[in-house]
Amino acid sequence: MSNLFSSMLPPASAQAPFVRQGWTADRVALVHLICLLPPALAVFYGYGDGILPVIAVSAIAAVLWQLVFSVVRRRRMGLDGLVSALVFALTAGPSVPLWQAALAISFGIIVAEQVFGGRGFNFLNPVAAALAFLVFSFPTLSFDGAAQWMSVSSVPAAVVLILTRMISWRQFTGILASLLLVSLAASDGFPIAALLQGHGLFLLVFLACDPVSSASTNAGRWANGVLLGGLIWLFAPVGGLAAGPVPFVQAILLASIFAPLIDTVVVKLNVRRRRARRG
């Protein structure tokens, strides 16, 4: 008899919380896509419609690989593949051969992201990996200079993404501060204008500050940012900042390899501090 009754009652279930802030992975990706619209328009305005096939091919390749892994793993797929494809295509520019673009973005999505289990489980940014693949596999390829307004039109994205905490203001400030300090110390001049002329700010917002491939503690975010700024200067002293995306890609890849190490150090210090407090 008691069994009959108990089946009528909902079990006391633990499935808290019953309200959520509402940021799902898809909404995060959607905000990124919207933030990418102004730079995309700037690139379209600067290069003409030659960029459209590159965007289309990258998007198809990225979504296709996401779909394949989604079906194999029986996991739902997100919109983040489109974000990766768009950032990649806008950086690569219109003169990259389509088959090379498809190959590079496939490499990025598969090797730097999907083999680890998808976005959030990876430690390298797939776009940075794809761009590095282009650089190393096709040395004859020369990147187009940045479209005018590309970086300037990324300013709203920087504001939105920082205010919504999708990218870290600590890391962003760390990059700018260390780049500024190193440049001034080396009497290279003022880097901000160069960042706004070239791919600089666009890549800082959409690649360098990717939370997945960056340090994930507050102290680590500062360190990660300072390291990034220093590496960018190392690979491209201020004169080269506006020349092309390559030094940024190299700095971002190297810094994201260090990110887990930075986090490990921060965690170790935190644990030691806790032990000391307890005595």
Partner: protein, 407 residues
């Protein structure tokens, strides 16, 4: 003492309660819920159709038979829903008569609390268990503030039972050689006067400023054996010692977007939520949550430790993307390590490393990061913020259980 909590979030939920206490509907059934008592293996002493008096022992902990759990009201056992693993879902009592056990109020505090079924109101940290009958804590924290969304204002409830509250504090002070800290929001002190062992501590800030996990961290008690107890349980203890009769009254907030008339009502522990939520508005069904929307649970009866009933509309069904792949659930959803989590914990604990350790079950790292200073409610904001849909409270509980078993 005064602390300002910098961290925290203002979690907005529609339908906050009017902070005026009304008499609630007289519920016909009440129940004790097995899930409330973590780690207790119940030995049930009553059977269906048996008449029980208020304060009569329904079951004891098999491992510690002194720890008794009593009937909150006088009535007849309607049914006992036994579940697997030797515990029960609900012991339901149909209200009947007004028979009450009486206790010798001049007796030893510990013995009276154990015998009357009041003892389980105390929760021992770390690990969040009902304390052992012979244990002595370094301090007792009385949580007399509530920063959860939709909560009742404790000062309003306590103002109606000031003397009982003081009496309860006096009795609690005899359980510890250390201090009793009354943790409250800024404002008039809730204790009559500072006494040698009873102190008023004020905490200002957003949620989790009102959680005992925050309080013991600021008071420098993290990691030490500390007991926590809610302010309403203190009032009940005061009533017990003033009248000799056990008290199970609770003032709860009935609130939320689906509550027709969000308000504070006087009812009893374990009250039937269906009867309490009469008048709820919600087209597609109403979800009854015992406890806070952040860390409570869906239930048919008010939880033993809860003083909130949140009424939410039944959520819409989830859609898949792309539509053809509907139902492809993530086994382990990723977390995006954004800066937002850094304000969710009030302690000096690194949230993202902790979330990672909890979601992969890395108990050693979790313990090093400070997991044992936390209970489920302390990490509820992480689940609230995380797009992955992980329930870090449930994950923390599994980790704590394994750490405790290994000790």
């Amino acid at each position: 003492m005064h602390f300002t909590i910098r961290q925290g979030y203002d979690v907005k939920v529609d339908g906050p309660p009017r902070q005026v206490v009304e008499d609630g509907p007289l519920v016909s059934t009440v129940a004790l819920c097995g899930a409330d008592f973590r780690g207790v293996r119940p030995k049930i002493l009553v059977q269906a159709d048996q008449a029980v008096a208020q304060g009569e022992v329904l079951f004891v902990d098999r491992h510690r038979p002194e720890v008794a759990f009593a009937a909150p009201v006088s009535g007849v056992i309607e049914r006992i829903d036994r579940s697997t693993r030797g515990t029960f879902d609900y012991i339901v009592i149909r209200r009947d008569g007004d028979r009450t056990r009486t206790f010798d109020a001049s007796g030893d505090v510990r013995e009276v609390l154990l015998a009357s079924g009041m003892w389980p109101s105390l929760i021992a940290r770390p690990f969040g268990r009902i304390p052992d009958p012979d244990a002595t804590p370094d301090a007792i924290l009385v949580t007399a503030m509530d920063t959860s969304p939709l909560a009742a204002e404790p000062a309003v409830v306590i103002s109606e039972a000031l003397e009982e509250f003081q009496e309860g504090l006096q009795r609690l002070a005899r359980l510890t050689a250390g201090q009793v800290f009354v943790c409250q929001a800024p404002g008039d002190p809730l204790i009559a006067a500072e006494q040698e062992h009873i102190h008023c501590v004020r905490f200002r800030g957003k949620h989790p400023a009102g959680l005992p996990g925050t309080h013991l961290d600021r008071l420098g008690l993290a990691g030490r054996p500390v007991w926590q107890i809610g302010y309403q349980a203190v009032i009940s203890i005061g009533r017990l010692f003033r009248s000799g009769r056990p008290a199970s009254d609770r003032v709860i907030s009935i609130a939320g977007p689906a509550a027709g008339n969000p308000r504070l009502v006087r009812t009893v522990q374990g009250a039937n939520l269906q009867e309490l939520s009469a008048g709820a508005t919600g087209g597609g069904g109403v979800r009854m949550i015992s406890g806070s929307v952040l860390s409570g649970r869906t239930s048919s009866y008010l939880g033993f430790y809860h003083d909130q009933l949140c009424l939410l509309p039944e959520p819409p069904r989830k859609r898949g993307f792309p539509p053809g792949l509907r139902g492809y659930a993530g086994a382990a959803a990723p977390l995006l390590p954004s800066e937002a989590y850094e304000r969710a914990l009030s302690q000096d604990i690194l949230p993202v490393p902790l979330m990672r350790a909890l979601s992969v079950g890395d108990d050693e790292t979790a313990e090093n990061l400070g997991a044992t200073d936390l209970l489920e409610e302390d990490v509820a904001l992480l689940s609230y913020l995380c797009p992955s849909g992980n329930d870090y409270g449930a994950l923390l509980r599994q980790t704590l259980d394994r750490i405790e078993a290994a000790r």
